[in-house]
């Protein structure tokens, strides 16, 4: 610490020091973790290599098959056919073959390893803002929100922009959400398993050049292997020629089947480029004249040449997901609660009045923590503390919520939150580059309480599906519920949760519900429901009152 430094500077230094050199005594729950890079907590289902430089889809088996096919075929060609051809025809043949091969490999790797144009997910603040705008526009507070679309007129054509529930954004035109990679991709063409990646705005030209050059290479190898066999058969007969050069047979077979598919694909994409369409749009027939006389492609530049130039030689946008950047905390969002963040309705009147059933409360806390612990990251946010006051004749003080902008989501900031007491933070198993799958992380009912949790032993509960708590939503119940002591884990009842149980492929969902009355202020309720990303929610069920808290935790991997 330097003496004589101005107050503001000292404050700055203090805050810097406090995050870096905290002693175990002061901050028992804050571990010194190295600064993480953004790719390490990327929310999509992508794999990253070389410290975030390489980005691929989750399933890469077929990509390796592609590589093997190309390498083996070309290897055989250069080893068995090229010496003969170079000797008896011209040495230019292996040279051209080599150049084509390098080009194919280069474009393949570039397509597979680059970011296709993934749109980063909305921050909590943005999502909240959008939600508010949508609700204002719709004016409804139903449990099933109306489908969210925005219409925009582009060059005379009405285009519908859809809202992506995963990424919490209105998708730009031509963008689409890839279910395999779990990302919204700009100018989404298709997800190609052969290259092990999505094909989108940033890598479409590489993909096109890959298939084009591969077509040439395939035709080239096919042609010259046939030439080789013919030349040999002139000398020693057809069967002898095959015996002398058995590799050629394999090459011919591979090339024969490849030619049809790859040349066909190249032709198709040439058509798409010249009309400035994506595979997605073509398959859906978005701009087909069959849909209507006035239906035309608003993105086309008018002529084939400009369309081709734009697709292949246009400016290459940079990646929007800063993979190798360090996860930063945004200081303004970390403003301590005493400053009164009123915008999101979090009140300061945190009445920590506990009802008499402490055991119920504590065990509820524990179960949520235990459920969330194997699946969530260490740096997680504040728990939601909902309190009930029996003196408060019927109207409960609204819960003190963590600021939605606080580093709450498991996949966002890694800044350590301010000191909090007893609820330990759930952890994601390290080394997993993609989101944890509840199936691979079986929830155990009898987990020992994490350190610092304190309290009584856990209450057992029925049906323990693993859940990853990303969202805690508070829902207004349709009417008063019967008093229930304690809590229960059950599939969501219709009409009680925002979205009910949604079964998605490969994901299990579970709703943990409890009843609550009276309804919270609407703006707070909605903000809580939709924007708070919590890793663990603790709450105080007002067990002694005929009131309950409805908490639905939607698990999603």
């Amino acid at each position: 610490m330097h003496l004589g430094v101005s107050e503001s500077m000292r404050e700055c230094e203090y805050s810097q020091i406090s995050t870096r050199s905290s002693t175990p005594m002061e901050t028992p729950y804050k571990k010194r973790t190295p600064k993480k890079k953004k790719w390490e907590s990327f929310p999509g289902r992508n794999k990253f290599y070389c410290d975030g430089r390489i980005m691929m889809a989750k399933q890469t088996g077929v990509f390796y098959l592609t590589l093997v096919l190309i390498l083996v075929t070309c290897g055989l060609f250069f080893t068995f056919d090229c010496p003969f051809l170079a000797q008896h025809l011209t040495p230019v043949i292996p040279v051209i073959g080599g150049v084509l091969f390098m080009f194919v490999l280069g474009t393949l790797l570039r397509t597979s390893f680059s970011d296709p144009g993934v749109l980063p997910r909305a921050t909590a603040d943005e999502a909240a803002d959008l939600e508010r705008q949508i609700d204002v526009a719709n004016g409804s507070t139903g449990y099933r929100p109306p489908p969210r679309t925005k219409e925009v007129v582009i060059n005379g054509q009405t285009v519908k922009l859809k809202y992506c529930f995963t990424c919490k954004i209105f998708r730009p035109p031509r963008a689409s959400h890839c279910s395999l990679c779990d990302n919204c991709v700009e100018r989404f063409d298709h997800h190609c398993p052969w290259v092990g990646n999505c094909v989108g705005r940033r890598n479409y030209r590489f993909f096109y050049m890959f298939i084009l050059s591969l077509s040439f290479l395939t035709i080239f190898i096919f042609a010259f292997v046939i030439t080789h066999i013919i030349l040999r058969s002139h000398r020693s007969g057809f069967l002898n020629a095959l015996k002398d050069s058995p590799a050629s047979v394999l090459e011919v077979v591979v090339c024969f089947f490849s030619v049809w598919s790859i040349v066909g694909l190249s032709g198709f994409h040439t058509y798409l480029i010249s009309s400035n369409q994506t595979t997605n749009e073509d398959i859906k027939g978005s701009w087909s004249s069959k849909r209507g006389k006035d239906n035309y492609n608003p993105y086309s530049h008018g002529n084939i040449f400009t369309n081709c130039c734009a697709a292949l030689c246009g400016p290459l946008p940079p990646s929007l997901i800063d993979r190798r950047g360090f996860i930063q905390s945004d200081a303004p969002q970390l403003a301590p609660p005493t400053n009164g963040i009123t915008m999101y309705g979090a009140t300061q009147s945190q009445q920590s009045h506990m009802c008499d059933q402490d055991q119920c409360i504590q065990s509820t806390k524990f179960v949520l923590q235990a459920a969330a612990t194997p699946l969530l990251q260490q740096q997680s946010s504040e728990p939601v503390i909902l309190t009930a006051s029996p003196e408060n004749g019927g109207s409960l003080p609204w819960p003190h919520l963590p600021h939605p902008g606080w580093p709450s989501a498991p996949h966002s900031h890694s800044a350590s939150p301010p000191h909090r007491q007893s609820t330990p933070k759930p952890q994601l198993p390290r080394g997993h580059r993609h989101a944890a799958n509840p199936r691979t992380q079986p929830h155990t009912q009898s987990q020992p309480p994490p350190p610092g949790a304190g309290g009584p032993p856990p209450l057992s509960y029925p049906g323990g599906n693993a859940l990853a708590t990303r969202y805690a939503s508070l829902r207004q119940p349709p009417g008063s519920q019967s008093h229930r002591a304690g809590w229960f884990l059950q599939p969501s009842q219709p009409g009680l949760t925002t979205r009910g149980l949604r079964q998605r492929t490969g994901k299990a969902q579970l709703s943990l519900t409890m009843g609550y009355l009276p309804p919270p202020p609407p703006h707070v309720l909605k903000t809580c429901i939709r924007t708070t990303k919590l890793s663990c929610a603790t709450f105080v069920p007002a067990c002694s009152h005929p009131q309950f808290i409805f908490l639905s935790l939607l698990s999603r991997t």
Partner: protein, 143 residues
Amino acid sequence: MAETHSLQDMRQQAAVAAKVFIQRDYTNGTVCQFQTKFPSELETRIDKQQFEETVRTLNNLYAEAEKLGSQSYIEGCLACLTAYTVFLCMETHYEKVLKKIAKYIQEQNDKIYTPRGLLLTDPIERGLRVVEVTIFEDRSLTR
């Protein structure tokens, strides 16, 4: 009298009162443009003309980045011929313009927005989805 806060000061001391998001304007297609509509939350803080001027300049800069002209074609062809290794040595045109935009936003923040208790966030940090305007608490009223 407008209080002058340094950016660092604001970030360390001021509390966020609200955030306003300027969404994208897709009426010209997929080109990066932002809506120039003046948000009502900023009415008390900044002059409408000034704000719209900022957004318009940003839009022009993004349009320049994505422009299809001879320069971009030459760059594209050269890159293709060198198997994109040329970008190991030089920046793409888009990246150069993004740097220009970052500088412009910094300059606007220093001159216009920070003295009024506002902060513009570079859209690239939000995936070019929104221009985020952070409104800080107006301490001048409380002091």
